[in-house]
């Protein structure tokens, strides 16, 4: 019962956050809306019993990545968006198609899912997740660490000013 209410509430927050993301003019407002979405999603993860993921979502995604976004927006002094209208393709074809896409995906996944068990209060132990992560998926795990290293190096190289040491 309460799960249902929570679900719909969180879903509503997420959707309105997403809508707000795409209609706001100023990027900072869009960033804040995205944070709202992420927090809502974290709540939904909790509903699904994935505590660790929920925590990671808030800490990493909302806490680090979105902060990065906000920093960049501040750094670049991004202002409200101007109105240029060059791509007719996007306007006339993109919108209907994306609606179609979303609807199609929804219908497909919804109709295809057979005996999906309803939600119960089961919670996934972090322990079992970490066991899987460090045993079966140890190699991809190490790879991702290298990936992060590369990303750092890349970001540094790209953003460096010409001819000067930062």
């Amino acid at each position: 019962m309460i799960v249902t209410i929570l679900f719909f509430a969180l879903a509503l927050i997420a959707v309105s956050g997403a809508v707000s993301l795409i209609v706001q003019r100023h990027p900072i407002h869009s960033a804040l809306s995205l944070i709202v979405v992420m927090v809502a999603l974290a709540g939904l993860y909790l509903l699904l019993g994935a505590q660790f993921i929920a925590a990671v979502q808030v800490i990493v995604y909302a806490g680090a990545i979105m902060v990065l976004f906000v920093f960049v927006i501040m750094l670049l002094n991004a202002g409200a968006e101007e109105r240029t209208n060059v791509s007719r393709m996007a306007a006339y074809i993109g919108l209907p198609l994306s609606v179609v896409l979303a609807a199609g995906l929804a219908w497909w996944t919804a109709s295809g899912s057979q005996a999906l068990s309803a939600l119960s209060g089961d919670v996934t132990p972090t322990r079992s997740l970490s066991m899987m992560l460090f045993q079966e998926y140890a190699f991809p795990f190490e790879l991702t660490s290298i990936l992060v290293l590369i990303a750092i190096l890349g970001a540094l190289t790209l953003a460096k000013r010409e001819g000067g040491a930062e």
């Binding site: 060059v86 791509s87 393709m89 996007a90 993109g94 198609l97 179609v100 199609g104 497909w108």
Partner: protein
């Protein structure tokens, strides 16, 4: 037996001569070219004589003697090999072609002495001999057609020999094109023969045709169509109505060419084909009638045109057309051996006439208009006497060769069940006309006062290498018909007897309507009538050309319209030009060239290229450099993909 087994040698000899002269020896001294050209032709003639000896020793059952040398075309059921055959008809043609050809080669060494294309001329002449011999020796229609086309080619090459002159090249083109029309008919005939008999070999087709039932009278059956198609080809090659128009124009070529090709040999190919296929013609009463009618109408038609021509060679050209008409008249009446007989005697006296005319032209320094000649008989006596002998032969004066052959034709026309009194009557009138225009030619050229400037033109007799062939041909023109002489007093026509095995089936079809004795007396009466007509023609010619020359102009004015029509050659050339040539040129230019070639074909090809460019030009806007449109394309792709998966999942 050697030549009988190696028949291919006979055509190969002139081919070798042509190859040597044409490729290697063209610019060599005349003596070298002469040796090769004359040598190969002389050897060919000698081979023909030797072959005659061998052939005479053969038993009648092994005639026709055929040799298959190598397989040539082999496609499914159809077979046409390089096979040559000899029978009596072939023998006659061989001797005529090689003999007269050899004499004309000798003549040409003198006539073409000062021409720059000497080697090329003899190459073409030898090449012509090769093709003509192939035509005559062929044992199937396909090989015959090779020879047929080949002589057409050589005619084109030789008529347009002086290719710097536009009139010569035009005449060569015209000869080839008009021949082509006939060849189309010939090809259709060959197709029909193959369809009905399954083969094109004489040895298979002719006996099979003999066994088949004939077409009923008045009915257009199989044999009729085949015969008419073959006759179309013969009309083209032998210059009959309506395809005769190329022959007078072909006089643009050198005179030896006119003698060899357009008098003695090539134009007789049509008659040969009809004679060879006589069984097919005999099985179709309609075709026999058509052949006879075409023959005699052409004879009359051409003779009327010859009455008023002023160019000496044109008179002889129309005379050739007319005499060929006689040969077809004979074939149409069922007297095929009479037609071949006339072919042979005509070869002698017509070749002689052309060569002598060439001698006259040579003596006059190139002048061909008879109105500008006159009184030449004292200055070029040899030419005059030989030409006179030929004229007597063609007019049908008794004792000369033409008399016997023409007589045979006219009596066959009168007596044969295929003939008719009308055909005979037209033939008889033509006798009168022939005598008239030939003696007119003699009188205008050799008698009367000289119409040319005697200080400008020094008339001189031709050299020996031109005169000797004239004399030989003159002798042949006299004695050439004598083997038929015994028929006059109830004996046997030896020539007809010789060819009898070939035309055996024809003879049985030709039951004369009257008894033998009656037939003989009718023949004698017909001969008398013909003689009277010939004498009448001579007399009129003498009256108009010697006694009362002014009368000619008076007649021309009085009957000005008929006169103008005759001088204009019935305006047939203009008719063809307007009705056929101009529409053809117009449609070729506008429909085929501009319409199909430029519009359709070029349009398609260019259009495809243009379309590619246009498409590329339109499609390149996808790569707009605009991120958002790229994104929307991606969304489109994603939608398509998910729809596809959805559809697959559902079904």
């Amino acid at each position: 037996m050697f030549l009988l087994e190696h028949l291919w040698i006979i055509p190969a000899l002139p081919l070798l001569g042509a190859a040597l002269n044409g490729i290697v020896l063209r610019r060599q001294a005349h003596a070298v070219v002469n040796t090769v050209a004359l040598g190969s032709t002389a050897l060919a003639f000698a081979s023909a004589l030797e072959l005659f000896r061998e052939f005479s020793a053969l038993a009648p059952t092994s005639i026709p003697w055929g040799e298959n040398f190598f397989p040539w075309i082999w496609a499914g059921d159809f077979r046409a090999d390089y096979a040559l055959q000899v029978d009596q008809l072939t023998m006659v043609m061989l001797l005529v072609v090689t003999g007269v050809g050899f004499l004309i080669h000798i003549y040409s060494t003198g006539y073409m002495e000062h021409d720059g294309g000497y080697g090329r001329f003899f190459c073409y002449l030898n090449l012509f001999m090769f093709f003509m011999l192939t035509l005559v020796l062929a044992a199937n229609y396909v090989l015959l057609f090779v020879g047929w086309e080949g002589v057409g080619l050589c005619s084109y090459l030789l008529v347009g020999f002086w290719f710097h002159k536009k009139s010569a090249t035009d005449a060569g083109n015209k000869a080839f094109w008009v021949n082509r029309v006939g060849d189309f008919g010939f090809l259709l005939g060959m197709f029909m023969i193959f369809r009905n008999f399954g083969s094109l070999d004489f040895a298979r087709v002719l006996p099979a045709a003999a066994g088949a039932p004939a077409d009923p009278a008045g009915h257009f059956g199989t044999f009729t169509w085949i015969a008419l198609a073959l006759m179309t080809g013969a009309c083209g090659k032998s210059a009959q109505l309506p395809l005769y128009v190329w022959l007078p124009d072909a006089m643009e070529g050198p005179t030896p060419v006119s003698a060899l090709i357009h008098a003695a040999t090539m134009v007789t190919a049509g008659v040969y084909v009809v004679a060879r296929s006589h069984i097919i013609f005999l099985h179709s009463p309609i075709a026999m009638a058509v052949v006879g009618v075409i023959g005699c109408v052409t004879a009359l038609f051409a003779a009327t045109i010859a009455l008023v021509q002023t160019d000496i060679k044109k008179v002889l050209a129309y005379s050739t057309v007319s005499q060929l008409g006689y040969m077809f008249l004979a074939c149409g009446a069922g007297a095929f051996s009479a037609g071949i007989f006339h072919l042979m005697t005509h070869a002698f006296f017509k070749a002689l006439l052309f060569l002598a005319a060439g001698s006259v032209i040579h003596a006059m320094g190139g002048e061909q208009d008879m109105r500008k000649m006159g009184g030449l008989r004292k200055q070029i006596p040899w030419t005059y006497w030989t030409m006179l002998i030929a004229t007597l032969a063609i007019a049908g004066v008794p004792g000369f060769s033409g008399f016997f052959s023409k007589d045979a034709i006219l009596s066959a026309a009168f007596l044969s069940p295929y003939g008719g009194k009308i055909l005979w009557a037209i033939g008889a009138v033509t006798v009168l006309l022939t005598a008239f225009y030939m003696f007119r030619l003699i009188f205008l050229t050799f008698f009367g006062k000289a119409e040319y400037d005697e200080h400008q033109i020094h008339v001189h007799e031709s050299p020996n290498n031109m005169l000797v062939p004239l004399v030989i041909l003159a002798v042949l023109s006299v004695i050439g018909g004598w083997q038929a002489a015994p028929a006059l007093w109830g004996g046997e026509n030896h020539f007809e007897h010789y060819l009898a095995p070939v035309f055996a089936d024809a003879a049985s079809a030709m039951e004369p309507s009257t008894s033998a004795m009656n037939a003989h007396s009718i023949e004698q009466q017909l001969t008398l009538v013909a003689l009277i007509l010939a004498a009448l023609g001579f007399f009129i010619a003498w009256w108009l050309c010697i006694k009362n020359p002014k009368l000619r102009d008076t007649l021309a004015e009085t009957f000005s319209t008929p006169y103008r029509i005759l001088v204009g050659k019935y305006f047939v050339d203009e008719l063809y030009a307007g009705a056929i040539v101009r529409p053809l040129l117009w449609s070729s230019t506008n429909v085929l060239w501009h319409g199909v070639d430029e519009g359709l074909i070029d349009g398609t090809v260019n259009g495809v290229a243009h379309l590619t460019g246009e498409t590329g030009d339109r499609v390149r806007h996808v790569e707009s450099g605009n991120t958002r449109s790229y994104a929307s394309w991606m969304v489109l792709g994603a939608v398509v993909f998910t729809s596809l998966l959805l559809w697959l999942a559902v079904h």
